[in-house]
Symmetry: D3
Subunit: 325 residues, 6 copies
């Protein structure tokens, strides 16, 4: 059964597909009747469904994280699309479910992103930097975790594959910057690939979506990244890297947020660390724009000015109506 | 006579060249004797010279902005190189001087920067954006002013050619960003080329160096840029651009500083304006790093950590001692 | 038919008047029944009306911006006054409507404000400043637009006539400041009259109320003000004003917000620009107090301390209960 | 002997006048010889004098705060005017000195400022507010202290009479604001007159100039003002003012700095307190501009842009070269 | 009748106790039926009760601040416990009610806190500091007010006894700090006991709970504390304290918030005032943590990470699941 | 030879002791004569000495870090004490020097501080926390490094033993806080002992004094502390600590600066981490006060208000002149 494209559903469409329950809220009407609001989603988006009084017992086993077989149709309810079940949703056994199919996922091909990364690795002139990058990026287990990790739990790149996409964007921008500013392209590439490795331990994937792990909120991704680097370094033959070489790689991790108030342990102290910081900003904020332009809460119709502020960008955004001929 | 390379002078070197007086300070020793400190420079840098009591009358006509024929040698004085005149400096007639030869100048070829700009113009698919850019960049008089303007009077790109170099760096980075983030490359290129046009009316070049013009300090470069755009637009046949097309180009000018507290009239409201903003930051701060690494006040010897903070970057900077093999 | 004074309506009053629909929200009760909440207003205020299930079809043609003939009475609903229709509202043809009659309007006479402005113009000793002011204030078309423009789309002076009232307040305060501080009274008057001219292109008036125009959000009112000034200057015989005279007038426009983080392009650099800035603050914030004191959301009863913060002032405000005998 | 106008002295002028020693610095040349730098002043300004090696013993009794009879002439020394003694300065007995004659003093007539204050008092319609103001302003001892107090020890109004001038400026602006904004003119006048009464206990006048008292730095002028008010209130017959009337007067004192970060105990909560705050800002900052325009450190010649930032205003300031005809 | 422990109630429990009405909201269902939401509480907490259509007339006399005799049982309603009346609540005559029994109260014994305070007083070596402290803490009327006052109306220590608990915590921490940092323990104890005395006039206790008094919002607790000190000082024989001794005690009051932006009139200028400031921070923020850990809105179940930010602490908080064996 | 107490030297005293050269500056008088300014110090303080023209050759081998045998006497020079050599200083062989004797050192006994720490360790009820602390504090090599490390290279506790003193102060305050706030005393003690362990790799001791190491500036002390913890944890038998126990100890290290803008990786999320943060502030700022009160640059005489701001505290400080009898 092909994945249902939730973004393109219109009122009247019939639905007979598997969807994951993202959240379930049990409520009571003012008349004292119970009802339930479900959020149902897959890799393409989310849609809600209300279950009224008499049907509530039919969804007793339905919880956040459950995958259900849905039969119903799309309606308009208070100006929004909504699912109306025509038969009780049937719970799919957890053992039969691949959770990733039901989480948001980047639209770019993950394989093509890896191809770009591997091309950069192959092109490196510095054997030491190649070796440093390969501590992680030549490790299939790491690659498997990395490509599943979002760029953030909410906000920019909050999708399966988001971290990989983000890192490719950052490296692309930082490499262009280093070329035009006469920096070391290999070095800034290594910094870009390694700067966010801690995210694989910072964000967890559950049936309910992406969220911070305990290490993620107690010591955050940059400290985790340095611990990961240090454990790899400690396992190498002594002398593989000098002390300051190790420190320079840690410095990319610790300084890439630029300012202490944005979480950096230190401000960037080299040209390459500085360029990495701005490339990181450009990718994160640029991605926020890309998503804001497609956000139907900001642009419910054909507005030019968004009807409210993007919470990610803390401002209204604008869609041009003209073309540039 | 070839330009003297002030950066490579060592104690004991003989000097017999034209230099411009950047500044003259008349002082008095505690014994009541007059002496004068001159700063002398050309396109490659600056060196100082002290003129003591008995020789002060020999430099009566020497003022900031005067070009003088210098005969002397290089000494160490309190740990710094300094010029010692062996004959009184001779004033060169203003009519015989090309001021630009004596001001700091970028080390990159201006012609090659123009070639890059012109290639981007030629590659544009949008005729309208090409037309907008050509309002300025196809105008030889404008190009002549533009290529002489610094990026800033102090700080990043404070050199003849600095604005052109900065704009090429910004456009290079913004184009790479737009490609990887799926933005409009022509549009961001136009934004990059136009964002700082107001600088040609903001910074003046005098014999004493670069400084703000009256329009520069009273209404600053972004307002000046919009006035320049508007005058060009008003002179075009009606309908050349739609009102919102004109506004989008103004918006690049007015939003490129990103935040109101950094002088932006508005925050960026499109992907392309956002990417331009971060590219501008990357070029400006990256250039500050490039110059800090070569600044003998920060690194008087072979230090790894600079001995004081770079005032441009408000932090100490670091020079790695290791190579990446 | 006289304008209905919405502020003085009490429960039980009969209503048979024209009102404009400010907004319409279509909702559904938890029982699945449709109902509609209308906001209806005129120059004196706003009142809401609920239309229940069976009557929803009678208001099919009623949209935000429509003027309707209302027949009904005032009720209390959950502690607030509300209109109850006793007959279906009848849509008035757009061609028969003067939109301004239905928008909030200052309570001060617009004619008396113009009289004050014109007295100041007539009293000016400087012919050049008089000429600068008259570029706009002797132009009937500009005056007509100016007197319809609010001071802001929300917040202080958000009324027809609000900009004119604001400018008269600012000029009054700035003139008193300049007199006591030995500044140039003509100059600060000119600055006060011209500082917000860009607002006529920044705020639009639609049936739904006041809102930002596209130029308003893309480049904001100060840049628009300078473009308006520049176009007038460029149309004058050369030499009418010197370059620095023009710049000084632009400087009032660009600096009146005082600080970059408040949107100023530059900080005030003259006594008169500084005094204008504080007068602008005093008028805007003072007006926020005037309106807060009459705001029934802040003072639903006879409280001394407002029950919540004024969003305009970001603090609670206080109404004294004592008189000063 | 008339007061010497220090501002108008030129090189070559003869001086034979009494001046107060503002400061004395004992220094040593690099040759090990002692010398002394004196700052000498009166109500019109300050001038420095160097006393070299052999003459140092002649000024043994000369200290900060001493008044000396000076005989000498004016010279240029390193681009500044300086006094050169032609005879040893003679110390004037402290008992023969009126310290106020030697401190900076406002150029406006103190009597005319009092006349304005007294006119406002006489015009008050509210007997209670008149009574509140008269607790201080009908008290000759208080008036004598008040008129000697500066507005601040450094910065705006740092002159004998400065506080009185500042309060008249504030009241003038606040009264105009209240009139145009429909506030209570008597009330804002009372607030303006009382808001800074604590300054008479905050700033001390010593021979060395103005400085903070111990109460001034340990609890600052607003707390001192409230203590002064409270002691007067406690001495009145019970019921003279209600509790909230007393509080409203305290509130003017405690809120006039506007924001907590500027030292206010609370933000203004009434229209009149708000208008007082902005009038206070306008007077303080406007006065900084008035003084900056006459400051020879900012404008050593006929510059239009000041050569450095005014430390009071934290920006460069501009003097127009054009007239407005 | 023993106090009902609201915190330990479970669904199904029977209730027959007196509770105070904290608030009453009259609402209307979408069907137009009236209903009422009551918040009922005592010293141990709060619980809500809904009264539906037909029962609304039975609670006609029930208002915020009324104490009612409740008969009913505990139910679960939308995931929260709620009271269901089985008989109409009966209003208890105000004359028969001790309001304090129905307000939140600290769980620590007030008597034991006083014992600690009195031990510190008895241990003081400085008779003057003992005398200063005794101006308030030997006054039974003051003690009675003090022990009823909360530490703040919302947030930390918002309970009867909260101010006393806070002051004991602050003094405990400040005394330990002074001992280890070699400060004056008597002095910092006096500062700790006196720093918040103004709170007894700042927070009022009404039937509806704690709230700011008019003096509290118009001039805040530090100014009130200094007025209280000053009135006591003025009533003493002259010479009891020197002027600077009085000032030092005022300085503790005025500086304990540390920074102007946090409401301090001045920053701490002595070691003891500095240590008091940090002890105050530690007690206030530590108490916020204590309460956050027990807040069922932050931890509705057995979460480790709170489900939302604590508004007091502006961050999420964490409850460890491990023990430290 | 006993250590010379530099603090108690007076003009006229004879000196015949070993001192370390802290810095050497080679200068030239305006007459062109060379002279040298030496800073000489030991554990008790610093004194300067000028060496003039003819004596410069006698100190050819004297550099920063050299220990010299000094023979001379104390003079007053420009109001400061200064050493005058009566014989050329003699260089002591590096092999005969114990550098620590010549660096500033805390006045408290290091042994007594360790006794306190060891008592706390012995008193711990939690074996796991004891084990965690002992990973470092039962390791003699670590203790030897720890007790030599300053609390900071400049500012608070910048002395041999400073880190140990700081940690004892922090633990003392945090323990008192935890006791009164019902926190876990063992846990907060462990946090206090471990929070700054990274400082032993952050600050280096050279002959020239304390300074940042390369790891110190490139990744700072909190990241270094976590790396040290992690390496110890990784070397333990699996299961010694649970993952969240390890994280809680890292969390103390990463959160103790409280706010991101002060360098914290995360804000404190537990009561104990919060209390540790405030105790750290109290010790650091309290120590700054202790040192400010004895700083002769702030109090050159018997002033009550310091003559300038303490750079550590960014404010003037006050010394009471009264006693509290």
């Amino acid at each position: 059964m092909a994945t249902l494209d939730l973004a393109s559903l219109a009122a009247g469409d019939r639905v007979q597909h598997e969807l994951m329950v993202r959240s379930r809220e049990d409520k009571t009407t003012k008349n004292g009747d119970p009802f339930v609001v479900l959020q149902l989603g897959n890799a393409t988006g989310v849609i809600s469904a209300n279950v009224w009084k008499e049907d509530v017992p039919t969804i007793a086993g339905v919880r956040a994280g459950t995958v259900v077989q849905v039969i119903g149709s799309v309606e308009n309810y208070q100006g929004r699309r909504q699912l109306k079940f025509t038969a009780p949703p049937r719970v799919v056994a957890a053992s039969a479910v691949d959770i990733d199919e039901f989480l948001p996922r980047i639209s770019v091909s993950i394989a093509s992103l890896w191809a770009t990364v591997d091309k950069w690795r192959a092109d490196m002139k510095s054997k030491q930097l190649r070796a440093a990058v390969d501590l992680f990026f030549a490790d299939d287990e790491f690659r498997a975790r990395f490509e599943r990790t979002p760029g953030a739990p909410r906000g920019h790149h909050a999708q399966i594959g988001g971290l990989l996409l983000h890192v490719v964007e950052v490296a692309t921008i930082a490499r262009a910057s280093a070329k035009t500013m006469r920096g070391d392209v290999d070095l800034v590439t290594a910094g870009a690939l390694l700067h966010d490795i801690g995210n694989v331990e910072t964000y967890g994937i559950t049936a309910a979506g992406f969220e911070y792990t305990q290490p993620g909120y107690l010591i955050q991704h940059m400290v985790l990244g340095s611990l990961m680097l240090d454990r790899k370094f400690r396992a190498l033959p002594e002398g593989t890297f000098t002390e300051t070489q190790e420190l320079e790689l840690h410095h990319f991790v610790q300084s890439h947020h630029g300012l202490l108030e944005h979480g950096a342990a230190v401000r960037p102290m080299t040209l390459e660390a500085e360029l990495l910081h701005w490339a990181d900003q450009s990718s994160a904020n640029g991605n926020n724009f890309v998503e804001a332009m497609e956000d139907s809460e900001l642009f419910p119709g054909d507005e030019q000015l968004s009807v409210k502020k993007s919470w990610r960008l803390d401002r209204k955004v604008w869609r041009r109506s003209h073309a540039w001929d």
